[in-house]
Symmetry: D2
Subunit: 141 residues, 4 copies
């Protein structure tokens, strides 16, 4: 399975008074991984949005296994799990780089929509993007 690596350092602002990274940041880290995954396939989210196509979430889940802490270097591994004319599913694994400890896992489910957030058929509307993702998905097996 094609997985893209995204690395960054925990920011102080991401900590909370438990002295760990606040859980809401994992959604943001997943998104950083997703952006890199698409970019690595030659797909720019900005370009898709300029064509009037959005990719909002309709569902997400996250399993928090170990806390991330300030000054940790973080690695997000992002993969494409599913694709259809209407939907895309990404999976994520978050690691602490120094120790290689798995901190969290998760999935985000997205719908292809127009800018009014109405469903569109990605295969018809942005066929080049759809084909790239389709090939990426098939190459995983």
């Amino acid at each position: 399975m094609k997985q893209i690596e995204t690395k960054f350092n925990v920011r102080y602002s991401e900590t909370d008074q438990m002295k760990i990274v606040h859980h809401s940041n994992y959604a943001i880290w997943f998104e950083a991984g997703r952006s890199d995954f698409l970019k690595s396939s030659g797909i720019s989210v900005s370009d898709i949005e300029d064509e009037g196509i959005l990719l909002p979430l309709y569902e997400m889940n996250c399993q928090f296994k170990k806390p991330a802490k300030f000054e940790d270097e973080i690695l997000v591994l992002t993969g494409l799990k599913g694709l259809s004319c209407a939907r895309v599913i990404f999976t994520y694994k978050v690691y602490q780089v120094n120790t290689n400890v798995l901190l969290a896992t998760g999935e985000t489910m997205h719908a292809w929509t127009n800018k009014f957030l109405e469903p569109v058929n990605a295969k018809k509307k942005i066929p080049e993007v759809y084909d790239i993702l389709s090939l990426t998905l098939k190459s995983e097996f």
Copy 2:
């Protein structure tokens, strides 16, 4: 089922360039609801933390049904779904107040831990808090 209401307005900073509330904010809104739920039962998160007991998440999920937008008034309904010596589960429903439209649902699963994030038995460590939550849960049926 006892459900606590939390109301607030969408903040401009919570929007993203899709002109909707960024999905990471729902985790923060759930947390606002959870704080109010505990407070309404006479439980202060700060007091529990002062006793050395934390309640970090080990899992969360969220279903996004309709987008929230800037200047929307938001209602979060928070309920207690499960409780054990080791764990607590909360459920959430997020509504747009004006229209009564359901925007999102979700759950957060938490572990009772000490300040080193090691598991503790809440029934033994903070029996008063545990009893209050236990009665709240039973009173739901």
Copy 3:
């Protein structure tokens, strides 16, 4: 000087590992106050934006006097300090409600722009909004 009150509770996610509210949140609290100030004058930011007029910041400053903490109830007092065809200046005071202690003060300076972020003359483009703000400013003395 007309000052509008905005009240809310500190969110857990707003804390950092110093166990105080992270300073980046004051910009967000100022904005909540600013939104309420405009709303209280009958001005909707969304409506202005629908007319293609934006009000981005070109400068801000903040003085942090005492830390805000989790579960504090916060009061933001927002006032209009200056107005011209090109610019608007707001001032803010942030209080802890229970103690009436002043936590922070600040200012935000904004430019009237079109959606390409190019300067526009607010007096010409949105005269009703300009006049309301102008009267508000004058009524302060």
Copy 4:
């Protein structure tokens, strides 16, 4: 003047419905730069905090010159402007990497405190850290 470079990509969550980076994020970017500045001098914020010394802000200002946008690569240049037993001042310049356009400038003023946020004399409490910063400051001229 010693200036440390910090590079990262704009995150989608950092945008707002003006389709630019929300201004509250610059405080977070400054902080990322500040962490790197200290780290480059061999100073770990976590280590200082473990010794019971905190460095909260008492003031900040920011001048926003051009908007940052999603997928921009950002460069923060961080410098040390002032140092005393009681205080530290950092300066920041934020650039868009591709175009070398200056997006924002700013300063943050910090007080050396104990964990109760009471003032301490850094020269006495953490002399090694103070001396490193002092030399860094002098080497700037």
